[in-house]
């Protein structure tokens, strides 16, 4: 019931609005730049053509010494359309594109207090990766 297709410039207002609603921060310029960079940027629509969510990612190599892997940078689903397989459809479509590029791993970073998104990626089969993220506030 969900169609996944590459995002176009005309999707930017919907992408930016959904992201602003879910994160509380409006950043239309960021999303416009991301789309222009030509990374994998996909949107999902219901069979009635309603915008349901988006996913963005790209293959990156040798950052932090890591061999090439597909990275999921962002995924957002309209809360009204959740639990209908939209997220899984977007994830699977992105993973298929990563595989087509020849990589065999997919990675992401999530807020460890955000159990909802953690559960989503776990349900896709993801487990803790090889890296540990470290962080420090600068004095």
């Amino acid at each position: 019931m969900v169609a996944v297709r590459p995002a176009q410039a005309t999707d930017l207002p919907a992408i930016s609005a959904l992201d602003a609603r879910l994160t509380g921060t409006s950043k239309p310029d960021y999303w416009r730049d991301r789309l222009a960079l030509g990374l994998h940027f996909l949107v999902a629509e219901t069979d009635k053509g309603t915008f349901a969510g988006f996913i963005a990612g790209e293959v990156r190599a040798w950052e932090f010494g890591q061999p090439p892997a597909g990275w999921v940078f962002a995924i957002q689903i309209d809360p009204k359309l959740r639990l209908k397989g939209v997220g899984s459809a977007l994830f699977e479509a992105l993973v298929a594109r990563f595989k087509a590029e020849g990589v065999t791993r997919v990675r992401t970073l999530v807020d460890r207090k955000d159990h909802l998104i953690l559960s989503f990626f776990r349900a896709q089969g993801m487990v803790a990766g090889p890296s540990l993220q470290l962080d420090m506030e600068l004095p």
Binding site: R112, H115, L118, S119, F121, R122, A123, G125, V127, A128
Partner: protein, 131 residues
């Protein structure tokens, strides 16, 4: 990570019963399957029943049946029934000292990662992809 025996038995029993919500297994059935003490398991099943995760079925072929939601219940929900959660545990001697509180920050970091892991794995995820 070392879990209390009751926690491990609670996870075994819940996952085994959740595998097929129609099946009814007694504590003896479950104890035999995992090679653990029936007595200990009976106590654990009563805790799971009070929490609403399983329900006791009476009769000759009586036992327990899974009554939770496989997609909603996470490993943390079961662990929390048997282990003291970090926020609620009693203060240890020495924790107020400078070294004690520095050590506490490291231990709290480990607890937070463990909790994030346990909270993000639903029974459905566990049963779909046993690791």
């Amino acid at each position: 990570m070392k879990l209390q025996t009751a926690t491990r038995l609670g996870l075994y029993a819940t996952l085994e019963l959740a595998r097929d919500p129609a099946q009814i297994l007694s504590s003896a059935d479950l104890a035999e399957r995992f090679g653990v003490s029936t007595h200990h398991l009976a106590k654990v099943l009563r805790t799971l029943s009070t929490a609403g995760l399983v329900q006791a079925e009476r009769g000759a072929s009586g036992g327990y049946r899974f009554t939770g939601n496989r997609r909603r219940v996470t490993l943390m929900d079961i662990v929390a029934l048997f282990e003291s959660t970090p926020g609620r545990r009693a203060k240890e001697p020495g924790e107020e000292t400078e070294i004690g509180s520095a050590l506490q920050r490291v231990l709290a970091e480990i607890d937070e990662i463990a909790e994030a892991t346990l909270r993000s794995v639903s029974l459905e995820t566990m049963l779909k992809r046993p690791t």
